[in-house]
Amino acid sequence: MSIDAVRDPDAPRRPGERLATYAAFLFLCLFAVYSAFPFFWTLLTSIKEPVDAFATPPVWVFDPTLSHYASLWLDRGFGWYFLNTAIVTAGTLLISIPIGAIAGYALARYPGRLGFWLLILALVFRALPRTAILLPFYQISRSFGIYDTHILLILVLVSINQPFTIWMMRSFFMTIPAEIEEAAMVDGCSRFKAFLKAIVPVMWPGVITTSLFTFLLAYNEFLMPLILTATKATTLPVAISQFGAEDIRFWSLSAAGAISITLPVVALILIFQKRIVGGLVQGAVKG
């Protein structure tokens, strides 16, 4: 770290420098508003009556209503889709994170060339366009009789996201020195016990970061559930797209759905904020 980088933030600055700082701050504020505007607009739409929501020019003073949320959750079976999504997301996490952790650990420690090629292979699979594997998934699910089931979506999402979790966990484990588990082995642990006692206690930042990304991938997945489900296992993103399509009057409903879907994610990220940033940094630079 250079001396400049750690200088006292309260130290006096030259006038030109101060102006530049204010200008940058103003720009970033405007940019934040610009970026958040679609979300803000959706939030407003979800609590307006359709007549207000689509008035031109936009109506800024209106009676807020939660009726769309009520009709969404009570009449439209939103809770059912929410449950589907929760099951599929939880199932995907429960399978792909342990596999990703163990495979990532092995690949981080394995010195041979085979490991390199396995990683490349995983990357290639990840790079396949989803539309290319969609039809085979569809046909296989039909012939196995698991079309429109939770287990199908879980298996498909695990297979799609596994390369990512393996890569991410591997780069996290690379930052944990092998000396730690070697010390544990000399101290009296078997190979596996060394992993449990010395590595597992310090791997949670990596697991949490990887889990969050996997959660987002599974939670927001649209294409796979659109094709591979019909009614029983339909997830939130698919359900929402179907609410809005019918008529402009339902757009408020669709907006309420979008907000409902987003809030859990926002909550999760707020809860794990520190861990995520820590995990991202840990994966990026050796500490």
């Binding site: 020195p177 000396e179 730690i180 070697e182 010390a183 544990a184 082995m185 000399v186 101290d187 009296g188 642990c189 078997s190 190979r191 016990k193 006692k197 010395a198 206690p201 310090v202």
Partner: protein
């Protein structure tokens, strides 16, 4: 109590040799240092004793028992790693206690043994800290205490001082030596620092390219190097080495011709002489003469460098030496203190059986 025997140890990864045919017999309570530049196989050799690597061929015996196929935990060795390998999630106390817990030592003994080990390395007041709240030297002590607490038959140390600053290195070095004597354990210690090797070891194994070049006491490897590698590696400043040829008892090199103690004729030689065996004299009186290239005062002595014919020759002289760079000077040594090496193989030559030659 442990005698460790390495018998014809080879470690290879495909076509790459890490260690080639190393055989060392380490006596009980001996302090053996494996010394060499990076990549010489010294750490690999130690890791094979620990069980963290398996030899491709050869046998490792601890107290007469072949341990080749035993896991590290079953070998009764303790190891201190270069970057310590502490458990970041555990306090100092729990770090030191870890080996006792995983080995099923009765819990009633833990506290006494942890505190005893911590006391020996003067860690008593830090037992509640986590490793990240410790300085490098303190982390080092935790690693030492964790090794001591189990009272193993053998200690393995992999460059344990290399991450410490120069001052701490000297004091910790003394502590390690003291610990080894107090505990009466067999010690294998890996380093690339010849000063550490000289100060700590009962015997030093100097390694290069996976081969032990010389195994001997510090005095033996310093005074009687087996080949040109050992001669050049041990000693600071390094031994002066001049390439040339001998004709009728006179060694000729570019800009040099100096008489040898015996009547020798042989091509492609390297002549070696230690800096402290050279003294300054008037130009024309000594065997070497040239303008002074540079003068380096070290405090306790002064190094005088000259370049007769291209090769740098360094003399270690008294600290009160006063000379000027650029002035002409002579350097003189007793020819009995010269070493000769084969220029092609690097092997030490003892052609006359007199002196060092």
């Amino acid at each position: 109590m442990a005698r460790i025997e390495l018998r014809n140890i080879v470690k290879r990864w495909g076509p790459v040799f890490g260690v080639r045919d190393v055989s060392i017999d380490i006596a009980d309570r001996e302090f053996l240092v494996l010394l060499g530049p990076s990549g010489c196989g010294k750490t690999t050799t130690m890791r094979m004793v620990a069980g963290l690597e398996y030899p491709s061929s050869g046998d490792i015996l601890i107290d007469g028992r072949r341990v080749n196929d035993l896991e590290p935990k079953d070998r009764d060795v303790a190891m201190v790693f270069q970057s310590y390998g502490l458990y970041a999630h555990l306090t100092v106390y729990e770090n030191i206690r870890f080996p006792l817990r995983v080995r099923g030592v009765p819990a009633a003994e833990h506290d006494r043994r942890v505190r005893e080990a911590a006391r020996m390395v003067e860690l008593g007041s830090l037992l509640d800290r986590k490793p990240k709240a410790l300085s490098g030297g303190q982390r080092q002590r935790v690693a030492l205490a964790r090794a001591i607490v189990r009272q193993p038959a053998c200690f393995l140390m992999d460059e344990p001082l290399s991450n410490l600053d120069a001052k701490l290195r000297v004091s910790t070095r003394a502590e390690i030596k003291h610990l080894q004597q107090t505990l009466g354990v067999t010690m294998i210690y890996v380093t690339h620092d010849q000063v550490e090797a000289m100060t700590l070891a009962h015997r030093v194994a100097v390694m290069e390219h996976g081969v032990v070049r010389q195994l001997g006491t510090p005095t033996e490897i310093y005074d009687d190097p087996a080949d040109i590698f050992v001669a050049g590696f041990i000693g600071s400043p390094a031994m002066n080495l001049v390439r040339g040829a001998a004709q009728d008892g006179v060694f000729h090199a570019p800009g040099l011709s100096l008489p040898l103690p015996q009547h020798i004729t042989r091509g492609d030689l390297v002549l070696g002489v230690r800096a402290e065996d050279l003294g300054v004299c008037a130009p024309g009186e000594g065997q070497f003469a040239a303008d002074i290239f540079s003068i380096e005062p070290l405090g306790d002595s002064t190094l005088v460098n000259i370049k007769p014919g291209g090769a740098l020759v360094t003399a270690r002289v008294a600290k009160d030496y006063r000379g000027e760079a650029g002035a002409n000077t002579g350097l003189r040594a007793d020819p009995a203190l010269f070493y000769l090496f084969d220029g092609a193989t690097g092997a030490r030559l003892r052609l006359t059986g007199q002196g060092r030659i």
